[in-house]
Point group: C2
DNA sequence: TTGAAAGCGCTAACAT
DNA sequence: ATGTTAGCGCTTTCAA
C-alpha cells in the first residue's frame, strides 16, 4: 500500500506503462544505442503525457558527474559590489542553463581556496570557471591535481590552462598611448590594485608597453601598484596631485569610482584639474559626470564564452587554449 | 588489476583498513546511532590519514537531498549590475558554505520561471531563496506545488511563505516624512520601478503612509509608478522639472543613478536645483557627489539571514514566518 | 532492436 | 555496539 505523497514518476513507470524495459526507455531518451524510431516516439510521447523528468541526482550518481559547474567569485570587501563578476556570472549562468547545466557559486576572499576545495572534494562540480585568476595559481594547482577541467577568465598561471581573455594588455596599451598624446609620461599617473591578480599584471604590462613605445621610461614616481583600500588610495591621490599629474589611469572601475569620489571631495574638477581614465568600464563610469574614458570589456560575453568552452571540454570536444575577446575604447569627457 | 587513475578513497576503504563494517564508519561520521568512542576516534583518525571525503553525489542519492539551495536572481537588463543581488548572493553563499551547502544560481528575466522549474524538476535544490519576489507569486506557487521549502527576501505573495524583509514600508515612510519637512507634498516627486515587485509596492506604501500622515493627499501628478527604461525615465524627469518639483525620491539605486546622470546632463545641480533621495543605498549613492540621501538596507545580512532560515527549515527546525531587519537613514548633502 | 542484471557509494532498517 | 543487507533511480555491459 502506497500512501506516500505523490511519488514522482520515474523511468520504470514509463517502461511499465509501455510494456518495455527501462533500458529501452533510457536509450530512447539519451539517444545512445539503437532504438526503433517508433519505440522512440512512443517513449517520448509517454514521457510528455506522464510528465516525467529524470532525477538528476540518480543520473549524476550513475554517470559520476553532476551537471554542475563551479564559478569562483571574489568576495573581498573591495569587490562585493564589483559589477564585473555579477555580469560575468549571469553570462555563465544563462549559457549553462541552455545546456542543462547548473551554476554553483564558489566564494573566495584574498585568494582563499577552501571553498573551492570543499566543492571539489565533495565532487559537486564537473568543471570550474575562475573569474579572477591570481598569479600564484593555487586554484589552478588544486584543479590540476584533481584533474578537474577549468577555464580562467583572464590569463592563468597554469601551464595548460584554457583561458578566455580580453586583450587587456593590448587595450591598456592603446588607451595609454592615446593618453600620452596629451600628457607627458611623467605626469601620467597609474593606480592599480593587487598585482597578485593576473588581470592587473596584464594591464600594467599594457601600460608599460605604451610608455616604452613612446620612447619614454616608465614613470615610477607616478605609478602605484598593489593599491588597496581607501586610505592607501587617498594617499596615492594626494601624491599624484602634489606631483601635478595631468591625468590618472585607474586599474579598474572600483578604483576609479573611489578616485572620482575623492577628487570631488577635495574640490578637484575632472577634467579641468585632472583627467581621469579607467582600464575597465561599468555603469559607474558611464553614468558619471563627466563620463569616464575607459576600456569596455563585455563581462557577460566573457562569462558566456568561458562557459561554452568549459562545457565543450566536459563533452570531450577540443577547445582552443586561448580565446581572445576584443575591447572598445570609450573616449569621453573625463580626458578631454 | 586496477590501472584506473587513482580511485578516490571511499567509505569501504576506511572500513576495510580498520577491519570494521562501513555502516559503523558511516555512523561514526554522522553521529547517528551508537558507536563506541574509541571506534569513533579510530575512524576519524583513519579518515584524516587516508584523506577521505564523502562522495556527496552518492550521499545525495541515498538521502534524496542535494545539499544545494537555489537562489533566484533577476537577470533583466536594468538589473544586471544591481549591487543588491550580488551582495545578497554573497551573504547567502557564505552562510551556506559554513553549513556545507552549496548555492545554485537560478536566473530569471521578467518573471520567467522556466529556470526555476528546470532546477526543481531535476531535483537539484533542496530549497530556494527568492531575492526579488513578484506580486503575481508564480514562483511561490511552483514551489508550493512541489513542496519545496523557500524563503523570500522581501514580502511574498504566498500565504505561508517564510519571509525576511527590511522594514521597507517603515523606512520609506520615515524617509518621506523627513523630506516632507522641507518639501511641499505636491512638489515631491517619486519614481518607482515595476509595481510587480513586492518591494516596490512596500516602498510605495511607505511613501503614501507618510504623505497621508502629514495630512496631505498623495500627489498623483508627481508620482510615477512602473517606470522602466531610460526613455521613460527621461520623460518622467522632464515632467518633474516642469512641475518645479523641489525633490525627487528614487525607488532604488539603479533608478537613482540614472536620475543623477540625467540631471547632470541637462545642467541641473543637486541639491541646488533639485534635491534627490533614494530608497535603496549602494556604493553608487555613497560615492556620488554630492552623496545621496538614502535608506541603507544590508543586502549581505538579508542574504545571510535568508540562508540561515532556509537551512534551519531544511533541518526541520521551526522558523518564524517573518523576520524583519532594520534600516538606516542616511541623510546627506543631496537633500540639504 | 530489446531486455536482464550489475553497479555507482552511500544510508538505514533490521538483526545480532 | 556493530554487522548484514536492501535499497535509492539511473546507466551500461552483456546476452539474446
Amino acid at each position: 500500500m502506497d500512501n506516500s505523497v505523490s511519488r514522482t514518476v520515474q523511468l520504470d513507470d514509463i517502461a511499465k506503462a509501455l510494456g518495455i524495459s527501462k533500458t529501452t526507455v533510457s536509450r530512447a531518451i539519451s539517444g545512445k544505442g539503437r532504438v526503433s524510431p517508433e519505440t522512440r516516439d512512443r517513449v517520448l510521447e509517454c514521457i510528455r503525457v506522464m510528465n516525467y523528468s529524470p532525477n538528476m541526482i540518480a543520473k549524476s550518481f550513475s554517470e559520476n558527474r553532476t551537471y554542475n559547474i563551479g564559478v569562483v567569485i571574489p568576495m573581498d570587501d573591495m569587490e562585493t559590489e564589483a559589477p564585473f563578476f555579477q555580469t560575468c556570472l549571469m553570462g555563465i549562468s544563462k549559457c549553462c542553463a541552455l545546456r542543462n547545466y547548473d551554476t554553483l557559486v564558489i566564494g573566495t576572499e584574498r585568494g582563499d581556496v577552501s571553498q573551492l576545495k570543499r566543492v571539489l572534494e565533495s565532487r559537486k562540480a564537473d568543471g570550474v570557471i575562475i573569474t579572477r585568476p591570481l598569479r600564484n595559481g593555487s586554484m589552478e594547482q588544486l584543479l590540476a591535481d584533481m584533474s578537474i577541467p577549468y577555464v580562467t577568465v583572464g590569463q592563468s598561471s597554469g601551464v595548460d590552462a584554457v583561458t578566455i581573455d580580453s586583450e587587456h594588455k593590448e587595450g591598456c596599451c592603446q588607451l595609454t598611448s592615446y593618453l600620452l598624446m596629451n600628457n607627458k609620461p611623467n605626469k601620467l599617473g597609474l593606480i592599480i590594485g593587487s598585482m597578485e591578480q593576473t588581470v592587473n599584471k596584464s594591464r600594467y604590462d599594457g601600460f608599460v608597453k605604451a610608455v616604452e613605445a613612446s620612447g619614454a621610461t616608465v614613470p615610477n614616481q607616478t605609478v602605484f601598484l598593489g593599491v588597496n583600500g581607501e586610505l592607501q588610495l587617498r594617499r596615492v591621490i594626494d601624491d599624484l596631485l602634489q606631483r601635478e599629474c595631468g591625468c590618472v589611469i585607474c586599474g579598474d572601475d572600483m578604483i576609479c569610482m573611489h578616485v572620482v569620489n575623492m577628487l570631488a571631495s577635495i574640490g578637484k574638477v575632472i577634467p579641468r584639474d585632472i583627467r581621469v581614465a579607467s582600464f575597465y568600464n561599468s555603469m559607474y563610469l558611464d553614468m558619471n559626470s563627466p563620463p569616464i574614458t575607459a576600456l569596455r570589456f563585455r563581462a557577460g560575453d566573457l562569462g558566456a564564452t568561458a562557459a561554452t568552452l568549459l562545457l565543450d571540454m566536459l563533452e570531450g570536444k577540443e577547445t582552443s587554449r586561448e580565446t581572445m575577446l576584443g575591447f572598445e575604447m570609450l573616449i569621453r569627457k573625463s580626458t578631454m
